[in-house]
Amino acid sequence: MKKYVVPPLGGFSPTGFRLKAVRHALVCVFLLVGSSQAEFRFPMPEFVTGYTHPAVHTPAPSNAMVGWDIVVLVSTLTLAAIFVLKRRKRREIFLLTLFSMIYFGFWRNGCVCSVGSVQNIAAGICDSSYGVPFTVLVFFALPLVFALLFGRVFCAAVCPLGAIQEAVAVKPVKVPPAVEKVLSVFPYIYLGLAILSVAMGAGFIICQYDPFVGVFRMGASFSMLIFGGIMLVLGIFVARPYCRFLCPYGVLLNWASKLSLHHATITPTDCIQCTLCEDSCPYNAINEPTPAEAPESRGKGASRLGILILLVPVMVVFGVGVGSLLKEPLARMHPTVRLAERMAGEDLGRYSETNIESEAFRASDTPNEELYAEAVQLKAGFGRGGKWLGAFIGLVIGCKLIAVSILRKRTDYEPDRGTCFSCGRCYKYCPVKE
């Protein structure tokens, strides 16, 4: 479709047309050849027809939903707490989960979510020039506060990532508890990596590797769609694989929930040790009663505990060692380091072609030395960060070993306050009614 504006007739003559054209062309050539300092190659024309240029369409960012997001977050959290602790109906919890999946996931495109907000908080703490938006502060803090009061009700029915996994978990199988324990270290590693990445300015990896945001937005890079697809298919049999073995925010919720004032219980009143609920939890989150008589002598247990406590510093030191070995691969998380290595490689003739990044860098006329100096500095930073990360992981593994070896006395079947998602599956297995 072509639109031509018919020029007004008055004031124009064919020669006038031609003269102006020639002048314009001449000026153009003159400007091109003559003065390279001119800000623009072509002068802005002086229109004789009274033409005024159109306005540029600059729509403002939509702010409308932000307030609603907070309202919906508060109400869904409150409802979730009521459903989990008071009404105790799996069905209601699940319906709320579906609502959250649709609202926070598909409708609001899965952004901003509490899981990713960890990075904004870390960025706000590390970088004083970065201001964390109010919504993000609320999305970070509120689920944790609710976890301190009522357990992980956020995971039960509010988190869109948890919700989509809950929705596909139709045939959950039991993961062997030992495997579960080992895999549950990964969220800590992920959390540490994410914070390291933010602190070093290498980007928000939790957002980058969010497997479900592509599903919510119905589009993502091919590899992320594959990852999301694998997670969803896996999630049919291994319930909530992301929550259990990856989610970094889950680590914080786990800690908060361990201290919770109220927490979901399997039985509404008293446990009669009927064992009916034993296999009802797809998350290995039900702790069985401890055997009546101690399986080993007190002394033996105490000496093992002593050894494990002594082992913690060893693990930390070991972690620091491993962390410092990982300096180079960790540093490659940062685009500047990758670019510097690429540039150096190209200059050494290691690649036959340039890539988009190196071309853009050459076009910017920054000297290579500046880039290399920055990369060296970043690598040193990642070296320090890697040691901290290693120490953290060492500490986590040490503490987990201690936690496994301590037998807390328990007479009833109880949900594990840290790992229970308060999904409510076990409620209906308990024969005790109020």
Binding site: F42, A60, I121, V132, L137
Partner: protein, 185 residues
């Protein structure tokens, strides 16, 4: 330990955790900045083409903007016509834009106005490159904020080779090349 003491200790630790969460939030919020959105700096952009392909939205939220006040209104437009165009007309074979999103309108001899159709533009930057190389650079890329969902971390920012993306205040969300530009929202 007596159950009483145990409960007291739990209450104490819970309080400490609440203080910790509050502390983290306070220290993260200490720089009171306005709401931020993503925008790209046209002076840094090298028209690599990733804006078209790396946005989480398809088509991309990045579109070509045209600053009329710095446009030369050239007949031989580097952003509109292919370098090897046979003739200077609106024939599809002469147009640079792969989606024919640019309309060429005659104003007065020898000037033509070029208008971008936002619905057709895919943000590939081909015209921007052409205008940059042969013209005034009045065509350039911008994130359109009625489309952008303002990801926590913009997927294009992450892969932009020219480091052109940054967070800007939501109250002033565009980096236009000319401040003389008239705006409508």
């Amino acid at each position: 330990m007596k159950p009483e003491r145990k409960k007291d200790r739990r209450d104490f630790v819970r309080g400490a955790a609440a203080v910790l969460i509050g502390g983290a939030v306070m220290s993260a919020a200490r720089s009171r900045s306005p709401r931020l959105v993503w925008q790209l700096d046209p002076e840094k952009c090298t028209q690599c083409g990733r804006c078209a392909t790396h946005c989480v939205l398809a088509p991309s939220a990045v579109k070509c903007f045209h600053s009329y006040s710095i446009c030369g209104y050239c007949d031989l437009c580097g952003g509109y016509l292919r370098p090897d165009a046979k003739s200077r007309d609106t024939g599809a074979e002469n147009q640079l834009c792969p989606t024919a999103a640019i309309t060429r309108t005659f104003i007065e001899s020898p000037y033509y106005q070029y208008t971008i159709d936002e619905d057709l533009c895919i943000g590939c930057g081909i015209c921007v490159k052409g205008c940059d190389v042969f013209g005034n650079g009045s065509m350039y890329m911008q994130v359109k904020h009625d489309l952008c969902v303002n990801c926590n971390e913009c997927a294009i920012a992450r892969s932009c080779p020219s480091d052109a993306f940054k967070r800007v205040p939501a109250s002033d969300p565009y980096i236009l090349k000319s401040d003389r530009e008239r705006r409508i929202s």
